[in-house]
C-alpha cells in the first residue's frame, strides 16, 4: 500500500501495442492492499496479458464481489467497465451483463471467501451454465480482511498464523470447476508470472467458462511455516504439468519442438494453445484425467499448476439459449416491438 500515485514517468523503451496503448495504460489506481500481497502480482499479470493481446480496455467488463481480491479490479484497466457486487453475487451479475451484451470481455475476479463460501452457489451455477467469461479466484486460503481466519480452501492440517490447526476438509475449486463442466480450467501461482500471464491470455481467447485458480499468498496472515499457501510452500510444492504459449491466429508458428513433447489445441477463434508437456503422458483435453491428476497431486501435498483442462469445442450460454447475436443496447425499437401483426402471429401460434 502506498499513499502516492504511481508516477506517470515510464521507461524510455516502453512499447505500444496494436491498439496504441502502453502497458501503463492498462493500470488502475495504486493498490491499497498490504505490501507483498499476491493479489497485486495477479493484477500485474492481468495488465500484462491484456496489453499483449491488444485488448481495448473499454471493451472489458471487470466484475467482483467482496474481499481483498474483489478490491483489485480498481487497480487494473482503469478504462474498463466495472461492477463491485454484493458479497458472493458477482457470478449472477456477470451472467446478467453477459446476456445483455455478449460483445464485451467478461473478467470476474473473486476470492476464496467470495467464491468458496458465501458465493459458492453462484459460482457453481455460472460455471455449470457455461457463461463466456474469465473467472479468476485469487486464492489465499484465509480471510485477510477479518484478520486471518481459515477460509474454505484452507488445507486440512495447515495452521493459522497463531498456530491453530485447520480440521476441516478444503474445497478444491479446480476439482469443482472440472466436475461442473468448465471448459478451460487452470491453476497458477501469483509468484510465477511467466506461467500466469499465458494462462490468462488463453482464458481470454477461450469461449465458455474459463476458470483460473491462482494461489496468492497473504503476506499478512498466511505466509508462515505451517501454511500451505505461503510463498515458500507453494514454491517448494509447485508441480507445473505444462507450460503454455498462446499463439494468436495471425502469427506464424516458427519454433520446432521434439515430437510428442507438445500438444497444440486450436480454439474457436483460431488462436492456438501450445502446451509444452512437463508431466509425461498428460492429456489436457481429458476431463477425467485432469481430475485424477489434481487429486493425485493433492494427496501428495503437491500443487498441480498449468492448463489442466481445455475443451475448445465448448458452447457457451448464448448458444444454449439461442439468444440474439446483437447486444440489447443496439436493438432498436423496430426489432424490440415488431408490431401488432407479429403479436397476432404469436398469439395464433399459441391457440
Amino acid at each position: 500500500m502506498t499513499y502516492h500515485a504511481k508516477p506517470k514517468l515510464h521507461h524510455p523503451s516502453l512499447a505500444r501495442n496494436a491498439v496504441g496503448l502502453t502497458r501503463r495504460d492498462y493500470e488502475g489506481k495504486v493498490s491499497t492492499l498490504c505490501a507483498g500481497c499476491g493479489h497485486d502480482s495477479i493484477s500485474a499479470a492481468i495488465i500484462q496479458a491484456c496489453w499483449e493481446l491488444d485488448v481495448k480496455p473499454h471493451r472489458v467488463a471487470k466484475l467482483s464481489g467482496i474481499g481483498c481480491s474483489s478490491k483489485t479490479p480498481d487497480y487494473f484497466l482503469r478504462n474498463a467497465h466495472g461492477f463491485n457486487a454484493v458479497h458472493g453475487r458477482m457470478p449472477s451479475v456477470l451472467t446478467g451483463a453477459n446476456l445483455a451484451n455478449r460483445e464485451l470481455l467478461y473478467l470476474g475476479v473473486s476470492g476464496d471467501g467470495d467464491s468458496a463460501s458465501i458465493g459458492i452457489g453462484q459460482f457453481v451455477h455460472s460455471i455449470r451454465r457455461g457463461v463466456n467469461m474469465v473467472y479468476i479466484v485469487e486464492n489465499n486460503g484465509v480471510y485477510g480482511l477479518t484478520k486471518g481466519q481459515f477460509s474454505a480452501t484452507a488445507d486440512q492440517g495447515s495452521t493459522s498464523k497463531r498456530g491453530v490447526v485447520n480440521a476441516d476438509q478444503p474445497i478444491d475449486l479446480v476439482g469443482l470447476a472440472l466436475q461442473l463442466g468448465a471448459s478451460y480450467v487452470a491453476r497458477g501461482f501469483s509468484g510465477d508470472k511467466q506461467q500466469l500471464v499465458p494462462l490468462i491470455k488463453g482464458a481470454i481467447h477461450h469461449r465458455g467458462a474459463a476458470f483460473i485458480d491462482v494461489i496468492s499468498p497473504c503476506v499478512a496472515f498466511n505466509n508462515h511455516a505451517g501454511s500451505t499457501k505461503s510463498y515458500e510452500y507453494v514454491r517448494q510444492h509447485n508441480e507445473a504439468v505444462n507450460r503454455l504459449d498462446v499463439i494468436p491466429c495471425r502469427s506464424e508458428i516458427s519454433v520446432e519442438y521434439p515430437e510428442g513433447s507438445v500438444v497444440e489445441v486450436e480454439q474457436h477463434d483460431g488462436s492456438v494453445l501450445r502446451l509444452r508437456k512437463l508431466a509425461a503422458g498428460y492429456d489436457p483435453t481429458d476431463r477425467a484425467a485432469a481430475l485424477n491428476l489434481v487429486l493425485a497431486h493433492d494427496s501428495r501435498g503437491e500443487v498441480a499448476t498449468g492448463l489442466l483442462f481445455v475443451d475448445s469445442a465448448a458452447h457457451d450460454l448464448h448458444q444454449h439459449l439461442n439468444t440474439t447475436e446483437v447486444p440489447f443496447n443496439r436493438l432498436d425499437a423496430a426489432v424490440l416491438c415488431p408490431g401488432a401483426a407479429a403479436l397476432q402471429r404469436i398469439n395464433e401460434g399459441l391457440r
Binding site: 502516492h4 508516477p7 515510464h10 524510455p12 495504486v30 505490501a35 507483498g36 502480482s41
Partner: protein, 608 residues
C-alpha cells in the same frame, strides 16, 4: 555477475549523477531539498562548503551536473523535450534568498600555525586554496595583478551575467578570513617569489592569453581587431565603452558568447558570431548560445576565416571559406571545403575569441619547475604538485582553460596537498571521502524525504525585458527564480541520493517491487554475464554507463537486478516491500577538505 559491493563509496556516489559529474562533488539533491523547504541559508552553506562561490556559480557555472541529471533521461518520451533539473539556477536561489550568513562562516584562525603560503592570482582556484587553509591557521598571501580579487570572474565575465556585488560578497567572505591580499601586485619572477621563503606556492594565475588569428590583413587592420578576453577586460575597466555598428565575433566558446552579447550592448547593431565548426559542436554551453540568439545575434557555422579585408588599414570586412563536416576513414570529423566561392561579411570591428592559452613568462625555466613541450607545467594530476613539491598549480594554470567549478575542485585538492605536505604526510595518499548513510523510513508509508514525483517540465528563469538589458551592459539579464517557482523546480529533483538499498536475506520474492516500479528497473532473474543480463531484464538496460545493482543469490537461486539508469527514487519498491528488504537510505558524500580530516584518515560510513 558478482553481487554489487555497495560499501564502496563510489558505488552509490555514481548513482547521484549530478554530484558525480560535479568536479567539486557538491551534494546537489541535499541542497535542493533545503531550498524546497525554504532553508536557503542552509542550502547556501552546503554549496559554500563544496564550491565556494554559490552566487557566482549560480549564474555562470558550466553546469556539468545538468547534462548528467537523471531527470533528463527519465523524461524522455514523456515530455516534448527531456530537460534536467535547473540545478544551477536553484543554486542561485539559495544565494539570492539566504539573508545574512556571515555568522555561519568560519572565523579567522585564532592562532596562526606559522606556515606561509603564497597564492599567485586571486581567481577561483587561489581563493579556494586560501579559504581551505586560512581557518586552519595558515598565513596565506594572495598576489593579484588587478586591484580587486576575483580574476577572470571579475574582469572577463560581463556584468549583465554576473553583477559585481556578488563577486565582492563572495570574494570578500574569503579575504575576510584573514588573507593577506596584495592587489595591484603582479608577480614577475617565480625565483624572486621562491626566495621569499614561503612554505608553499600555489599558482592560480589562469590562462591569460587569448589566441590570435594570423591570417592575411591581421597586421594591417590591427586597430579594429581585438582579442576577445582582452577586449572584455577593457570593457570591465572602462577603457572600451563603444564598438562599431557592425561586429563579427570569431569563435564558438563561451567567451565568444560574452563578446557578442557585450558588443550588442555597446552600440553593435549588427553583431554576428561566425564559427568554423558546426553549431552543435560549438564549445559554448547550449544556454549561452540560446541567450545570444535570443538577443538577435545570428550564429553562422561552417565558415573558416580566410582574410581580414581592409581599405588602407580601415577594416571593411572578412572573407570566409565555406566548409562541411565529413568523417574520414577512421571516423574522425574533419572540415572539407564545399568548393563554393568564399563568402564576404562586411564589418567595422572583429573580436577574436578562438581560444585561450597558458602563459608563464614569469616562471624562470631554471627554477626547478619542469614544463612540457607545449609550455605547460608537469603536474601530478592528483596532488597538483609540480616537480618542485612545494609549488602547486590549479585552475586554468594547471591543465589549460576550463571552468570556475574545475578551478574550485583543483583548489580543494591543492589545499589538501599543501596541508599534508606541511604536516609531513605523503601527499599521494588522498583522504577518503566522508560518507553517511541514513535510512529515511519514518513509518509504514512515511519517508523523511519527499518521495512524490513531480510531473512538471523545466521552469524557465524569467528575463529582464530585452530593451532594458540591451541598453546597458550593467543590467543583469536573468532575474532568478522567485520562491514559488524555485519550490516547483526543486520538486522536479528525483532525490537520487536517497538510495534503494536491498537486503537479500529479507526478500521473499513476492514480486511486489517489480510490479509497482514505474520504470521497470527491477528484475528477479537467473544470474548471467553483464551484457547478456542487461538485455533480458524487465526493461532492457541499454545505458552501459550506468551500473546494474546485483544482489546475492536468493532462495529460488535467482538474483535481484536493478538498473540504476532510470530509477526515480520514488521509494515505491520499499513501500511495497512486506519485509523491509528494500529500504530508502540517504547517502551523503563529502570530499575531505584540508584539515585534520584529511590527515588522520576517517573511516567511511557503514552502508547497511
Amino acid at each position: 555477475m558478482k553481487p554489487t559491493d555497495i560499501s564502496k563509496p563510489s558505488y552509490f556516489h555514481k548513482v547521484v549523477d549530478c554530484q558525480w559529474a560535479c568536479p567539486a562533488h557538491t551534494p546537489v539533491p541535499e541542497y535542493i531539498r533545503l531550498i524546497a523547504s525554504g532553508r536557503y541559508a542552509d542550502a547556501y552553506m552546503v554549496n559554500w562548503q563544496s564550491n565556494v562561490f554559490p552566487g557566482i556559480l549560480g549564474r555562470t557555472c558550466d553546469r556539468p551536473c545538468e547534462p548528467a541529471c537523471r531527470r533528463g533521461r527519465v523524461e524522455e518520451n514523456n515530455g516534448e523535450k527531456p530537460e534536467p533539473v535547473a540545478i544551477c539556477r536553484l543554486k542561485r536561489v539559495a544565494a539570492d534568498l539566504k539573508g545574512d550568513i556571515r555568522a555561519r562562516l568560519p572565523r579567522p584562525a585564532a592562532s596562526k600555525n606559522g606556515k606561509r603560503i603564497a597564492c599567485v592570482g586571486a581567481g577561483p582556484a587561489s581563493l579556494t586554496v586560501a579559504r581551505d587553509l586560512l581557518p586552519l591557521g595558515y598565513h596565506v598571501t594572495v598576489f593579484e595583478g588587478d586591484a580587486k580579487g576575483g580574476g577572470f570572474m571579475r574582469t572577463q565575465v560581463p556584468r549583465f551575467r554576473l553583477p559585481e556585488e556578488v563577486i565582492d560578497e563572495e570574494v570578500g567572505y574569503i579575504l575576510d578570513l584573514g588573507a593577506d591580499f596584495r592587489g595591484n601586485t603582479r608577480i614577475d619572477s617565480m625565483k624572486a617569489l621562491l626566495g621569499q621563503g614561503y612554505d608553499a606556492v600555489f599558482v592560480g594565475s589562469g590562462a591569460p592569453r587569448g589566441r590570435d588569428l594570423e591570417i592575411p590583413g591581421r597586421a594591417e587592420a590591427a586597430a579594429h581587431i581585438h582579442i576577445g578576453i582582452d577586449w572584455l577586460a577593457s570593457v570591465y575597466f572602462g577603457h572600451v565603452s563603444a564598438v562599431g555598428k557592425r561586429v563579427i565575433v570569431l569563435g564558438g566558446g563561451n567567451t565568444a558568447m560574452d563578446c557578442c552579447r557585450s558588443a550588442r550592448r555597446l552600440g553593435g547593431d549588427e553583431v554576428k558570431v561566425i564559427v568554423r565548426s558546426g553549431f552543435e559542436e560549438m564549445k559554448a554551453s547550449p544556454w549561452e548560445k540560446e541567450d545570444a540568439q535570443h538577443e538577435g545575434i545570428p550564429i553562422l557555422n561552417y565558415r573558416v576565416p580566410k582574410a581580414f579585408i581592409h581599405d588602407k588599414g580601415r577594416l571593411t570586412g572578412m572573407s570566409f571559406e565555406l566548409v562541411r563536416a565529413e568523417k574520414d576513414a577512421r571516423g574522425r570529423r574533419r572540415l572539407v571545403p564545399t568548393g563554393q566561392p568564399d563568402e564576404f561579411h562586411a564589418c567595422d570591428e572583429v573580436l577574436v575569441a578562438v581560444g585561450q592559452e597558458n602563459a608563464f613568462p614569469w616562471i624562470e625555466r631554471d627554477c626547478g619547475i619542469a614544463f612540457d613541450d607545449s609550455g605547460m607545467p608537469v603536474l601530478d594530476p592528483q596532488t597538483f604538485q609540480s616537480s618542485l613539491p612545494q609549488v602547486l598549480f590549479g585552475g586554468d594554470a594547471a591543465f589549460g582553460p576550463k571552468n570556475i567549478i574545475w578551478a574550485v575542485a583543483h583548489g580543494h585538492e591543492a589545499a589538501v596537498s599543501i596541508d599534508k605536505l606541511l604536516n609531513g604526510e605523503p601527499t599521494a595518499e588522498r583522504p577518503q571521502p566522508a560518507v553517511e548513510v541514513i535510512s529515511q523510513k519514518m513509518g509504514i508509508h512515511e519517508w523523511s524525504y519527499d518521495s512524490d514525483i513531480s510531473g512538471d517540465t523545466r521552469h524557465k528563469v524569467p528575463w529582464a525585458s530585452a530593451e532594458k538589458t540591451l541598453k546597458s551592459i550593467r543590467v543583469e539579464v536573468e532575474l532568478g527564480f522567485d520562491q514559488q517557482t524555485a519550490w516547483k523546480e526543486a520538486q522536479r529533483c528525483l532525490n537520487c541520493d536517497v538510495q534503494t538499498v536491498f537486503t537479500p536475506k529479507l526478500c521473499i520474492e513476492c514480486d511486489g517491487c517489480v510490479d509497482v516500479c514505474p520504470m521497470d528497473c527491477i528484475s528477479f532473474t537467473a544470474n548471467g554475464e553483464e551484457p547478456e543480463l542487461r538485455a533480458r531484464l524487465s526493461a532492457p538496460a541499454l545505458n552501459a554507463a550506468q551500473d546494474l545493482y546485483v544482489s546475492a543469490s536468493l532462495p529460488t537461486t535467482r538474483v535481484m537486478v536493478k538498473d540504476e539508469d532510470v530509477c526515480l527514487h520514488c521509494g515505491l519498491c520499499a513501500e511495497r516491500c512486506p519485509t523491509g528488504a528494500w529500504d530508502m537510505q540517504k547517502y551523503l558524500f563529502e570530499t575531505s577538505k584540508a584539515g585534520p580530516a584529511c590527515r588522520t584518515r576517517v573511516p567511511t560510513g557503514e552502508p547497511a
